[in-house]
């Protein structure tokens, strides 16, 4: 627990900015943390990840594409890469098989990552078509609560869902909002 708390504290604070380097957008500022694939650990990345006020490295444990969550990296591989945490996708509102398998993966990797003292951030991939013309909150609350109850340390929520309706559920973990162009901003309000 101590290792997780220490690493989590490194990107605490309202407005803290993370950058998703796997999004394909260009990084043009020094974020508090970088979300990346293992092959993206280049010399440039290693440079900004050095020192006391370094940028933290968060590794993707899953791949989210074509409405599927696929395992990508074992949690045990994060520490040897110099990682400070991990990000796992959680599908919600897609086919049963996709959603249930996604929960199963989240449960497994959360346990494994915590054994290494690494925090886990769940990126909630909510099907936007569900809330096109209605409040998103009742849909968003279900995977948000499930992720917290599975033991994750922080969540990333889609901006489009957060803006459509006020949630009754009071989240108890650090909350980030996925903005455009790879930007992810901490917003616990």
């Amino acid at each position: 627990m101590t290792g997780i708390k220490i690493r989590l504290s490194r990107f605490s604070g309202l407005g803290t900015k993370l950058f998703d380097l796997t999004s394909g957008f260009k990084l043009d500022f020094k974020p508090a943390a970088l979300l990346l694939y293992p092959h993206q650990v280049t010399t440039a990345v290693a440079d900004i990840a050095a020192g006391r006020n370094r940028t933290l490295l968060l590794f993707r444990l899953t791949e989210w594409s074509e409405h599927q969550v696929r395992p990508l990296l074992a949690p045990a591989a994060v520490a040897p890469l110099g990682g400070d945490g991990s990000v796992v996708d959680l599908a919600a509102g897609y086919e049963d098989e996709v959603e249930i398998e996604s929960l199963r993966i989240l449960s497994d990797v959360t346990t494994q990552a915590h054994n290494q003292g690494l925090p886990v951030i769940a990126w909630i991939r909510l099907n936007e078509s569900l809330y096109l013309d209605k409040p998103a909150a009742p849909y968003l609350e279900i995977p948000l609560a499930a992720a917290e109850e599975m033991g994750v340390d922080a969540v990333i929520l889609p901006r489009s869902a957060v803006e459509k309706g006020t949630m009754q559920y009071r989240s108890a973990v650090a909350r980030f909002i996925a903005e455009d162009h790879g930007m992810i901003v901490r917003d616990d309000r």
Binding site: E99, T111, E141, A146, E148, E149, M150, R170
Partner: protein, 262 residues
């Protein structure tokens, strides 16, 4: 006496070996609802009624660990499995497939300070799902045994629309199997008084009755008293406590009913 028996005794009041347990694992399976929108606040009220134990998911147990920190605090029971059943009829994000997996190990539960772990066992839904449930229950029991942690099994009729007598029969048969597999106690649904009395005679391990759907306060008290009189070793009530208008009052009254205090 082994570690599992010692830990099981922590879920009971020493004087009468009865248990008043509050279930607060609902958001894990069905999403948040009244009482779980801010669970820490709700449980602060519930604790005023001195429950013997609280049932939580591993993630929630970590987030509100402080409620277990003081001498005399309730014991922690970890819900160790996720299953899709509660989402089958959900108005938001419904699932149509029955599935279930173990989401917590005995090691994790122990490291969270748990005194016991709990798993579902959906019986008679389908032969494949029965096999899956019993296999998971057996695996969880073996895992818990090696750490001296009691495993509480929750046999539920897989088909909620079957006749009461059939439900009783399914619960009794499943309870016997789970006892033989090594479950330390059972959390069971209440069908009727006759069924509960037969179940209590059918197995030797403690029987705790779950509260089920939200009911009026008076009906809840009557039901709890009846269940205890029928031979239950305790109750595991959730929605009727955490969704009550006055959780502290309901919690205290249920404690008094279970432990026969005025």
């Amino acid at each position: 006496m082994n570690g599992s028996q010692i830990r099981l005794s922590h879920l009971m009041e020493a004087k009468d070996s009865k248990s008043y347990i509050v279930a607060a694992d609902h958001a894990f399976l069905m999403g948040p609802s009244t009482g779980t929108f801010n669970l820490a606040e709700t449980l602060d009220q519930v604790l005023l009624g001195s429950p013997d134990a609280i049932l939580l998911s591993k993630g929630r147990a970590k987030l509100i660990a402080h409620i277990f920190h003081n001498p005399g605090s309730p014991a922690l029971i970890i819900r160790a499995d996720w299953f899709s059943g509660p989402r089958l009829f959900s108005p938001h994000l419904p699932l149509s497939r029955m599935d279930k997996f173990l989401a917590c190990s005995a090691e994790e539960a122990l490291s969270l300070g748990a005194e016991a772990m709990m798993v579902y066992c959906l019986a008679s839904f389908s032969s494949e799902f029965d096999s899956l449930c019993y296999a998971q229950a057996a695996a969880a029991i073996r895992n818990c045994e090696s750490y001296g942690l009691p495993l509480i099994a929750e046999p539920l009729p897989g088909n909620p629309f079957m006749e009461d007598e059939d439900k009783n029969q399914v619960i009794i048969e499943s309870a016997r199997i789970l006892e033989n597999l090594g479950a330390a106690a059972l959390k069971v649904p209440y069908v009727n008084e006759d069924g509960l009395r037969r179940l209590v005679k059918a197995v030797k391990i403690p029987i705790w009755v779950l509260g089920g759907d939200l009911d009026s306060e008076e009906a809840v008290y009557q039901k709890a008293a009846l269940q205890m009189a029928a031979g239950a070793s305790g109750i595991v009530y959730g929605r009727n406590v955490i969704q009550a208008a006055k959780p502290a009052e309901v919690s205290r009254n249920l404690y008094n009913i279970v432990h026969e205090k005025s």
